[in-house]
Symmetry: D2
């Protein structure tokens, strides 16, 4: 008896869309990529060269693509501003959805997707946070679960991108939701993963600077920012995000427990090569997050496919993606206003610190 | 126009055979796995569960498998003793061949495969040395080619396996050809890659011990051995192979040039996690070579497939596999007899050192 | 012509006092330790065994010790509460002073020492911040000065002590001034060193927890705390201090500039040994700050001695010690009250963030 | 009661002589440096500036120095060719001796010193092998002694110097005894320390090249050499020595046991600084052995002083220094002749391998 494959289409063939398409086409054995949508001519050209020969049909209209006969699932990797709308359309067509993060930079809009999905609980709707699929983060999680470090109490996590002097990030800042929502959302998600998804925020403070990309100021964004999120129950997470790294991508997380510490990627490296020359011993660092998380993205495509086909549980809830954006938006407010935010034990905003 | 895929069959579904089958089935988009052969009942059972559902036909007779209509290529991963015979049969059927290393533990038999392939030069016949497909070794090679370390002059390379108290290696030693032929053949191949494939051996010396697996003695094998291979032209390679590592697999290579040094895997690690507890800071190590080289094996399957389909050049010559076994057999002789071997500038054996 | 040595006495023979005495006696060739004071009987016994045989006179009265004929300098390592009084007495006797940090946990009292010293500017009065004498921090500073990392913009620095289940820190918390004043004062000093001593604080926020030493609560202290200090001019420092490390002392500093980053002690290690066993690869970490900074303390004793004898410049100003305590006290207030503090461009307290 | 100090004089004020003089003067509290001898005018000038002001008397005649009233000990750091003669003279004057390695490059002459010392067993005569005093090697030894790695079976050890294009080593090669005697003697000593001082050599093989310093050929020396020393009882040591490192000094040792491995200095580093720039993450390496072993030399001076004064045991026997030179000379012969050397179980030379 032949196995059945998941018929899936991809929306968006930009930087991440191309990667998702290739992963579903060639690195997800139980998936069959049947369609791809993009309104962009150069992306279409890429699709004609790289997808059509494998039998993938191309579309310039998202709604048309959803009409593919037998289509079961959609992977959404278009610009963030249309994620929610496309996700809801797919859900309403009874299709499984894998949506690039974030659902939206707006908490309200993100919530609308979560609610649409809640109505069709048989669908597998996931907003991918790649680190949840990364072998190292999973190993850290298993070690924490085993009790090796006692009770996780402090989390330090950073998302630091290689400086791109080309100005890409300035343009991008128009829609990104700000550095904490765009970058630290991964770190926030990790904090919730290790502290518990039901952790309640007690206070939030943040500071940022514009050091290398003055154009960010017009969009109210920063190229470096630090934030502290305190949770009820004696747990503190602190975050650093930066777009100023000279050496490459450096995403590092420390989970500090009462009896030990776990560090993920404390020593970033592109591969296993060290070069010994007159300047000393040197190693290279991945230039971007895909260099660090390629295998996590492939794993994500495979696990989501399996969940769609077999009805198995996804490793993270859709509501978690909403929650991370929510806390990210607190950090954005704290950063933008310079104020410290306080919350009561139901996470309602209050005026003063509860000591 | 749909792309054509390479119709390929796998011989052997043991430890590596299973992996090759999965790579060709699920991680090599331009390959189509159409058949698999194994005489072993438990391996067949695995094939029925994992390959048949994807349309792969199973065989208990190698010759029958070669008759699959439209078959273009065979991947051979049976026991070493039948590699050569199966490879030659496939070549004679005009099929491309990817053969697990070594072609044979016998230099003469290895040579017969090289000669069979030479007569059908349109075929892509490759004996896979996984490290040639590893991203780190390739990066090291590019850096060496760029002149970064001057002229490669000394190579230190080791293949060290985690100690297996279960006795697997003792059984295996009956047919393995000895530790240098079985393990160091990778390191020898690397030495040739960095020093030049045409390097001429000048002298060979070796010493070994049996420290943890006394059963090896009955097969004339060792669980730890060190060897020096001196080449004409001022180049020396030295090797260590061991089956005694407590911590896991540790394959390390240093290429030492007149102006710098490259080290590959000087700090083995299973992933990016460090654990900080009362004993200090700890990291884990891959337990076996597949943990270190998984992606290299997948890369190998893909590049071989591309070469078969498009006629492109393979990254290594079949004769290189013969050459590595040949030098491995010198080391075995030096180890077994305790004698140092000498060669003249045409690599003919001589009695005394040429100074 | 024989060289003249600096006649110096030590006040206090506790944990650090013993070390200072030994450094001045045996590892500072231009110093001559002539006296030591302690009111503590067990410390006196140690002095009789370890100092008297080398000709060092012991005192149970600090004032008596200051009357030693020809005395030129005093090293103060008594409990923090008497640092300032003893330092001022020595200054008034026209003696050079090396005082353990901090001058006082009170900004006002610290300032009184700075003022006493200012009146006798020929005296070398130093409050030792050991990291300023550490070879690695100095190398980092030289690299930063060379322009290698552009303009220092973000500093992350932590002082993390090995967890002492014996309760020492709980007792100590009565007088320590709180975790930021006691521990992070080093990190604050480093921030000022790299950002410029004249940097003006713009805002301060902090959060802390009591995770392993509940006794700290009665003293209003925390065993883990995180703080952000924002400076005018686009500079942010963030700090972590902890007394909960399972593995040992971990003091790490990152100086992140517009064109690169410097990390000091990103990979703590007790020595150059790695152990490879069935759990993986392990290295040990120094159990306390002296294990990390021993040589810095010796360097400090030597440089201070040279400055006293030759009138050369000290590597740090006394006012810097006051400044670090001042910023530490901001962090303590932010931590204790849960409030974020704001300052105008003259560092006067204001009610709201200046954006 | 004042302590008594060891009255000691230094012979030779060259590179190491200066260091020994400073260690004994300023970093060895129980030693009193009373004299220094050198026939060299520029060294004398250094002594006048750096030793005389501290009361050290200078001599241009070694014998005159030995007549210093009350002299108890001599530290010999002259050129290797006079070590033995000076040591014997001092022994005959009933003085303790700390002699720089080697006693002599000749086994016979080395033996004469050992014999002279044997006649006066109350004297502390030591030939310093600095690694025996290094905190990391001692930690490794303690861990090995604790049984952590089972039975030490394979040792890999290397002494690799930074390439000095100035030609110093070519001149030095006239008297150095060859690269194995000059450099690997440390590694040989370590092998004996971990395998047991009474280990019997079974066979020796070696290969070398001249890659960057062609002038070495006229002295029969090599700038890179690899050697294997097999001992009876299932123990193999292999060595690499090089004067070609671009990055700095790299002395690394692995002790591989039946149940684990210890590595010393697998990741050389000058200090705790890492630099992150566009080329990646870089750390510097000590440029020479003193950068790596400074504290070991100071430790050596202190322990020898203590042994002289208190009659305590030295951490290594004088005969060990002879033994290391002896095995070094086997390696030199194997290197020079290209032949493999064989020994019977009493370490007498035989013609053929004993299997």
């Amino acid at each position: 008896m032949a196995i059945s494959k998941l018929k899936v289409a991809v929306a968006g063939l930009g930087r991440m869309g191309k990667r998702h398409a290739v992963h579903l086409l060639a690195r997800t054995p139980r998936a069959e990529l049947v369609g791809a949508f993009t309104p962009d001519e150069s992306e279409l050209a890429w699709g004609r060269a790289n997808l059509e020969p494998f039998g993938v049909k191309l579309f310039t209209d998202y709604d048309e693509m959803l009409k593919i006969e037998g289509l079961q699932a959609v992977c959404i990797a278009t610009v963030t501003t249309v994620h929610a709308e496309e996700a809801i359309k797919a859900i309403e067509k009874d299709l499984h959805v894998l949506c690039e993060k974030p659902l939206s930079t707006s908490v309200e809009i993100s919530r609308s997707v979560v609610e649409a999905a809640r109505k069709r609980s048989h669908l597998k709707v996931m907003c991918g946070f790649s680190r949840r699929f990364d072998a190292s983060y999973r190993d850290a999680r298993e070690k924490a679960d085993s009790g090796m470090i006692g009770r996780p109490s402090i989390i330090r996590s950073q998302t630091c991108d290689k400086h791109d002097p080309g100005g890409f990030f300035v343009e991008y800042a128009k829609f990104s939701g700000g550095c904490f929502v765009d970058m630290s959302v991964h770190d926030i998600d990790l904090a919730l993963w290790f502290f518990g998804e039901d952790s309640i925020v007690k206070s939030v403070a943040a500071s940022g600077i514009v050091a290398v990309a003055p154009g960010l100021k017009q969009h109210g964004d920063y190229d470096n920012a630090v934030g502290i999120v305190e949770f009820y129950g004696g747990k503190v997470a602190y975050f650093f995000c930066s777009r100023m790294m000279a050496h490459g991508q450096e995403d590092t997380t420390e989970i500090i427990g009462t009896e030990g510490k776990l560090a993920v990627n404390a020593n970033p490296q592109a591969n296993f090569v060290n070069t010994y020359t007159s300047t000393g011993i040197n190693r290279e660092v991945p230039p971007h997050y895909y260099g660090r998380f390629e295998h996590a993205f492939v794993q994500e495509a495979n696990e989501w496919t399996t969940a769609c086909l077999d009805g198995t549980k996804l490793p993270m809830k859709l509501s978690g993606a909403l929650r991370a954006v929510e806390i990210g938006s607190y950090l954005q407010e704290a950063l933008r206003t310079g104020r410290k935010l306080y919350f009561d034990e139901t996470e309602r905003r209050v005026e003063h610190a509860s000591l």
